[in-house]
């Protein structure tokens, strides 16, 4: 066999490729499967949070904000525990980002609250004096796309077995159930219920009016998403 391969360079090259590829699979796959498993305390996104995530992506927040805390003391002092791969298990796609014009947002839910985000998204430079972040005023009027978020939930639940409506283990030993509506109307009702909780902490009258009408402005979804980043 080897003598035959030595005389046929093309097949020799194929054999080398197969050999190295196999070695690669043996080395990479088991570790990858282990590392991409969700950590305890990592829960799937709810409908509203997912809609907020779409707002985040649509406005290219990830162009200026990373979501990856490196294991350096200076970073963990500022942003919290360094990121672990299992924490991205439900991120499709992950939003690591490649540049920090603004600060990292991996755990922003730990140290900013709804009312801060509301003030800040309206006029960032009034809150952080030298901030170059633009104001995102349209988020207070544009409505969040709950239908697309629900479609994504259905898809990931079916194809990637994301555990919606199932108990997920949390850090304190309890379990958490992230609900997904059985129908589109269900999903919208769930998202609205969640939005009401967020909007209760907000002061913008237009947002409160919209929620009362049963509409969900983008800002509410985005804040729900940012608050979920812990």
């Amino acid at each position: 066999m080897f003598h035959w391969l030595e005389k046929h360079p093309f097949f020799f090259a194929v054999a080398v490729f197969v050999m190295i590829a196999f070695a690669g699979l043996v080395e990479i796959l088991p570790n990858f499967a282990q590392a991409s498993r969700p950590l305890i305390g990592t829960a799937p996104y709810s409908t509203l949070e997912l809609a907020g995530r779409h707002v985040y992506i649509k406005n290219s927040c990830n162009a200026c904000h990373s979501q990856l805390i490196r294991p350096f003391k200076s970073e963990t002092d500022r942003y919290g525990h360094y990121s672990r791969s299992g924490e991205y298990a439900y991120d499709r796609p992950f939003l690591w980002g490649s540049k920090r014009t603004g600060p990292d947002l991996m755990r922003v839910g730990n140290y900013r609250t709804t009312d801060w985000h509301e003030n800040h998204m309206k006029a960032p430079s009034k809150i952080v004096l030298d901030s170059i972040m633009p104001a995102f005023t349209w988020m207070f009027t544009n409505l969040a796309d709950i239908n697309t978020a629900y479609a994504e939930q259905l898809t990931v639940a079916q194809f990637f077995t994301v555990p919606y409506n199932q108990p997920v283990p949390m850090k304190d030993g309890s379990t958490k159930v992230v609900k997904m509506g059985a129908t589109l109307a269900d999903a919208n009702a769930l998202a609205l219920a969640e939005a009401k909780v967020v909007a209760a902490d907000m002061k913008d009258q237009n947002v409160k009016d919209a929620i009362a009408r049963g509409e969900i402005p983008e800002i509410v979804a985005l804040i729900a998403y940012l608050n979920s980043l812990k």
Partner: protein, 315 residues
């Protein structure tokens, strides 16, 4: 004599002389004689002996193999294939090479499993070491600071962590967060009286009742809207002005006559204290203005420092 041997002797002599001069130069640099260097440290003597031995062995081996190449002819059975006329003998691998090859494999296994690449380095390990070193340094330098140094540290932590909500001057940026230059604002007092409070300001759960549980001893009735406004203004003014009677009747039972609170019963609402600030940092807070998140990740000294700084603002 063979020309090869002659070259060998010349080469050997040159290298030995070079070794000698190296010795002389290093002796000159260190201010000792050559015999002192050689007898003073056995490593030096060993190194020199080794150098001389290496030179002689190298010359001997090179001469042996060069002579062999000059006279040897190849023999043995040729392998079946040949590549553009270049063939390969089917000779056995020399025993020494086989042993070295096997040893290399054993070493490779060791290297892969125990040696360098798999276990020796870890990013997180380096991070953990960094944290230990940093914390030790922090403790050594700041553990016992007090007074103005503590306030300075508090200010720097404030500028890093608290400024984004409370503003550079701790004024709360037009009411978007608490103004820390005074203990408490009237609207906050009003909100707490009306809604009650459970903010762990003492470090543990110790809820204050809402207005339906606040009894004014002077009027022997529940606190009224007018009284709430009066007492809110009184507390916000730094416990001065109108409303002192309401405070004495409804609030002083827990918060004491002077508003400075009571141990394990009610927090100080007349002035900031470092403990109060530490408790807010540990538990967060929800009130009239909004929700403040926890800042548990600050270390104890940093929390104490922020407390000292904030206390110093309203003095």
């Amino acid at each position: 004599m063979n020309k090869l041997y002659l070259w060998g002797i010349i080469m050997g002599a040159v290298m030995l002389v070079a070794t000698y001069f190296t010795l002389v130069i290093s002796a000159g640099n260190s201010g000792k004689s050559i015999s002192e260097i050689l007898s003073g440290d056995i490593v030096n003597a060993l190194a020199i002996t080794g150098a001389v031995a290496l030179i002689l062995i190298t010359i001997f081996v090179v001469i042996k193999y060069v002579r062999q190449m000059q006279t040897d002819t190849a023999n043995g059975q040729l392998a079946h294939e040949n590549w553009d006329g270049i063939g390969e003998y089917l000779n056995e691998l020399p025993m020494g090479w086989s042993i070295i090859f096997l040893l290399t494999m054993v070493w490779g296994m060791w290297y892969f499993i125990i040696g360098y690449p798999v276990n020796a380095f870890s990013n997180i390990g380096e991070y953990n070491e960094d944290v230990v070193v940093h914390n030790a340094k922090f403790n050594e330098e700041y553990k016992s600071i007090t007074g103005s140094r503590l306030v300075d540290m508090g200010e720097s932590v404030f500028l890093a962590e608290c400024k984004v909500c409370h503003g550079l001057k701790a004024d709360g940026i037009d009411g978007k967060a608490a103004n820390l230059n005074a203990r408490i604002e009237a609207r906050s007092v009003k909100y707490v009286v009306e809604n009650g409070s459970n903010n762990h300001l003492l470090g543990f759960e110790s809820p204050m009742p809402d207005r339906n549980g606040l009894f004014n001893n002077n009027t022997e009735a529940l606190i009224t809207d007018a009284e709430i406004d009066a007492v809110s203004a009184y507390v916000a003014n730094g416990m001065t002005g109108a409303g002192s009677d309401v405070f004495a009747g409804a609030c002083a039972v827990c918060h004491a006559e002077d508003g400075k609170g009571m141990e394990s019963v009610a927090p100080n609402i007349a002035a900031f204290t470092p403990t109060l600030v530490t408790n807010v940092l540990n538990h967060g807070k929800k009130g009239a203005i909004g929700t403040m998140p926890k800042f548990k990740r600050l270390n104890d000294k940093q929390k104490e420092a922020v407390g000292a700084y904030i206390t110093s603002l309203s003095k």
